[in-house]
Structures are given as structure tokens and as C-alpha cells.
Amino acid sequence: MSTFLDFEKPVAELEGKIKELRHSADGGDVNISDELGKLEAKVDQVLKQIYGKLSPWQKIQVARHPDRPHFSNYIETLFEDFVELCGDRAHGNDTALVGGIARFRGRSVFVIGHEKGSGTDGRVRHNFGMAHPEGYRKTTRLMNLANHYNLPVLTFVDTPGAYPGVEAEERGQSEAIARSIEASLRLEVPFVASIVGEGGSGGAVALATADRVLMLEHAVYSVISPEGCASILWRSAARAQDAADALKLTAEDLLALKVIDQVVDEPLGAAHRHPTTAIRALGDEIERTLLQLISEQSGSRRLRRREKFLAMGRA
């Protein structure tokens, strides 16, 4: 069962017709290929129209789409020999943030990402991609290991935000995030971050203080969710669409603000329609970026990363 978003309704209708046509022709010798071809072309045309001019609010729906590829899908498609490393060595093992060592296109790397989980059980098990402090502390631990073994760090960002709960506060959510940013800034190894779904606030930047930040075409990255922003500034969560417009959270906006380095195109109809194509395309760009970073030999990578962030937002 595929999930259709509100604005994908015309697509849902066309695909319904295609299904019906196939069903009615099943077993019979009626030639439907002409009609089918027409309908399929129409689907593409409608998708092109819809996805060519998504509003920021619609992008948020796409970024949160349940069928959008998750971290586990990136791991399966892009990495070999993934060895998960668990725990923060202090309290527990967070399941919303997953990380380990793996081979990426022939090269050993540390890979860390938010996992939102799939299906009701999966989503609950991974706490909807909202990490507790032990997740960020695990991230810090893995980054330090990457530095020690001189291996690159690749991250995949997809979180509504760090978890706002009692225990998370008791265990120092803010300190854990701050240390993860600090560890990112201390890396001497190449660090490429990819915003693949929702880049939710501090919980996202904890994994995105990178040499290069890539972002999928329909991903979003923001200081606060539009709902949260609307309820504070408009005093009504119903104004989330206005907040989404005002926050400038699309990949295109962020590229213009020079907060991200590259937008990676998604297949027609977004990553949830063609997950493998989307994942491979991002993989190619990560590889290209990584090779470029590796070829930069002179001076300290840490200092260059620092200069990059210091220059951000300056006139």
C-alpha cells in the first residue's frame, strides 16, 4: 500500500485507473498497452507539475513521508560490512541514532544516522528518530574513534528533533548535543553530512557540523518545526504553513544562504517513489565529495571546517 499525500491526489487517481485497467485486462486478450502508455505518461506529467513547484509546507510533508528511505535503507544500499557499534558507555544504547563502521565504495568509514523506523512497531522502537542523550554521546564516541583510526565520517540526518522528555533532560540532552558538535569540530578526518529527510534543529546540527553538507532536493532543515514556530510566534499551530514559508527551510533556500553545500536531485515524484534510485544518486554525490575532501592535503581540516562555519552568515 502506498501512501499518497494530499497534493498527490491526481496521481493517486491516475494510478488507480492504471491498476483497474490492468485488472480488467488480466487474462483477456484486449490490447491495453496504448491506453496504459498514455496514462503512465500522464502520471509523469502530473508528477512533474506537482513536484516542480512544491511549497515549503508540501516539502515538509514529503520529507516526513513514511515511505521515504530511512537510514537502514541507506545502509543496505550504499554500505558493505556494516558493523553496528552500540552504546554510550554510560547509560544505554539509543535506537534513534544508529552508527558503526562500514565499507563505502571500497573505503572504511564511520557512518552514523538518525533512524525513524518503519511501521508502527519500528517507529516506536526507534522513537520516531528522536534521540536521547545517549544517542549523541554514542555519536561523540564514534567520531572520536573515527579520528583515532583516521577514517572519514559520513552522517545521515533525518530527525524531527532531539527527544523532549523528562529522562532526556535528567541525563543532559543539551550537554550531549553540545559535545557532539564539539567532537565534530575537532575531527581531522573528512566529514560529509547528508540531510535526507527532516533536519530538525539541534538534534540535526549535532550530526551536521561537517566539512560538506549535502541535502536531498525535498529534504528540510530548520531551527524549529513550523508547527512549533507557529505556536510561539503566531500563537496558533494552525499557522504552520505561514511559518514554513517564513523559516526558509528548503534545500534551495539553504543553498542560497550558504548553509549547505549542494542540493542532490531526487527522482521524479521524490525519493519515496524510487527509493533505490534516490539512494544511489546520493551515494554518488557523497563519494564525489569525499574524494574531493581526501584530495585536499594541505593544512588542518579542522581549521578549514572552523573557518567555513565562522564565515557563515557574514555579510
Partner: protein, 267 residues
């Protein structure tokens, strides 16, 4: 009846209930620097309203209102001077200015404060107070988390003390960056300090939060800060910490040991 003058003399602490009221940069500087003497530094200009942000009000109007209300240009003010004879740069985040929120200006202020501390070989003391990042600057305010963390790194690499005093309230992206990275972390009594605000947590878990949750004393009990210090004791405590960290040589006041070493070997 509580008189303003009494409050001021008491560093804005309620004489009957000991509640620490929120105070701004001027009161901090007056209370901390020797004889209140200090020099404010001019802070870098930043992009104004980079997103052309407008909610129910224009961001530029909110800025103008805050400037009129506080008499300050922005939320973070930086000054240098001495605390008990020791060089210090003090940055104060002013909650009265748009909730102390961290945007481009606050980020640049903290970076400037860090650079000055390094240049003067002085300690950096930050008084944090903010609801979090400044939403009206969108992603650029989020980017102040890594940028202010870099400021902390600069001070740390110079092996100078970086001390944070968490004041009421400090939450959001501010705690998730420089405010929780102090080599020594102090909080004022009763200060609310956390990542998520209590309202957001209550809405998420749909439960009422226990008394004292996210207060300074709660943070101390959970190992998140080093100490809770009463505003009246703050200057003495900061001075003592700076003195010890910088290993300042002071004439010994303790009585010397009674028996000289050679006596001990002779017997």
C-alpha cells in the same frame, strides 16, 4: 512592600524569599568587575533580517521595540576588566532583549568575546540566559550552535578559563552549545535550565512535571553542573575559581611546617 532601591542594593534578590530576579548586563558588570570598572567592546555588525521574516509582527519591528525597551543594540553584551585583580572578559546575555535569543549578533558577540579573551590572556565568563535560538533568523540562528562552540574552542586552546553562569532561564540551542560547555558550570539558585522548555515536554509526555524539574538544584543533583551559587557569593566564587585555575602566585599565608627537613633526618 518591596522598594526598588532595596532590591537594587540586594542585587535584585528578594529580601524575603531569596528569589533571584532576572538582571541585565549593567547590573552584572557593576556587581562583578572591580569597583564596577569595565570597558564594553564594540560588536561586529551583522546582516539585518536576512530572511525578511514576518510573523504577526515584522522582525525588524521586534528588534526596534527591544532596542527601545532595553537601551541595548542586541541580546549579548561584552565587556572586559578585572575581577579581584584578574583579567576577565564577561559576556552577558540579556533575557529582556527578545528573550536573550541567539542569532547572528549573539553568535558574533560570543566569538568576539572569545577572541578578546585570547588576545588579553583573560578568562571568559559567560552569563547565559535565553529561550534559545532566534527563530526569526531561521537556519542562520541554528548555525550559531557550531559557531559559538568554535568560540569556546578558541578559549580552550589558549588554556584560558571558560566559565559559564547559567541564569534564569536558559534553554534550547543555547544550552545545546556554549552554555553547557563550561569548564566550570555554575547556576544561580532556582534558575530554569534545560534543552526543551517545560511546556514542550508537558505537551509531549502529557503529564505534569515534578516540582523543581530543570531547576539549578535539579541539574546539580543530576551531575550536569558543578555548583549552585547565590548571587551574593558569585563574585567571590568566580574570583576563587579563576585564581586556582590560573594558579596565581600569592604570598603564602599558612604557617610554615614546624620541623625543617634536616632535623627530621638527623634524629
Amino acid at each position: 512592600m518591596l522598594f526598588h532601591r532595596d532590591l537594587e542594593e540586594n542585587q535584585h534578590i528578594c529580601p524575603s524569599c531569596d528569589h533571584h530576579l532576572r538582571i541585565g548586563p549593567n547590573q552584572r558588570f557593576a556587581a562583578l568587575f572591580d569597583e564596577g570598572r569595565h570597558t564594553r567592546i564594540e560588536l561586529p555588525d551583522v546582516l539585518v533580517d536576512p530572511l525578511k521574516f514576518r510573523d504577526q509582527k515584522r522582525y525588524t519591528d521586534r528588534l526596534r521595540d527591544s532596542r527601545a525597551k532595553t537601551g541595548e543594540d542586541e541580546a549579548v553584551v561584552v565587556a572586559h576588566g578585572t575581577v579581584d585583580g584578574q583579567s576577565a572578559v564577561i559576556a552577558v546575555q540579556n533575557f529582556a532583549f527578545m528573550g536573550g535569543s541567539m542569532g547572528l549578533a549573539a553568535g558574533e558577540a560570543l566569538i568576539a568575546a572569545a577572541r578578546l579573551a585570547v588576545l588579553q590572556e583573560a578568562a571568559l565568563i559567560v552569563f547565559a540566559a535565553a529561550g534559545g535560538a532566534r527563530m526569526q533568523e531561521g537556519i542562520l540562528s541554528l548555525m550559531q550552535m557550531p559557531r559559538t562552540t568554535i568560540a569556546v574552542e578558541l578559549v580552550r586552546e589558549a588554556r584560558l578559563p571558560y566559565i559559564v553562569v547559567l541564569t534564569d532561564p536558559t534553554t534550547g540551542g543555547v544550552t545545546a552549545s556554549y552554555a553547557m560547555l563550561g569548564d566550570v558550570s555554575i547556576a544561580e539558585p532556582g534558575a530554569l535550565v534545560g534543552f526543551a522548555g517545560p511546556r514542550v515536554i508537558e505537551e509531549t509526555i502529557r503529564e505534569q512535571l515534578p516540582d523543581g524539574f530543570q531547576r539549578a538544584e535539579f541539574l546539580l543533583a543530576h551531575g550536569m553542573i558543578d555548583m549552585v551559587v547565590h548571587r551574593h557569593e558569585l563574585r567571590a566564587k568566580l574570583s576563587q575559581i579563576l585564581d586556582l585555575l590560573m594558579n596565581t602566585h600569592r604570598p603564602a599565608v599558612a604557617t610554615p611546617r614546624k620541623e625543617p627537613v634536616e632535623d627530621a633526618t638527623a634524629s
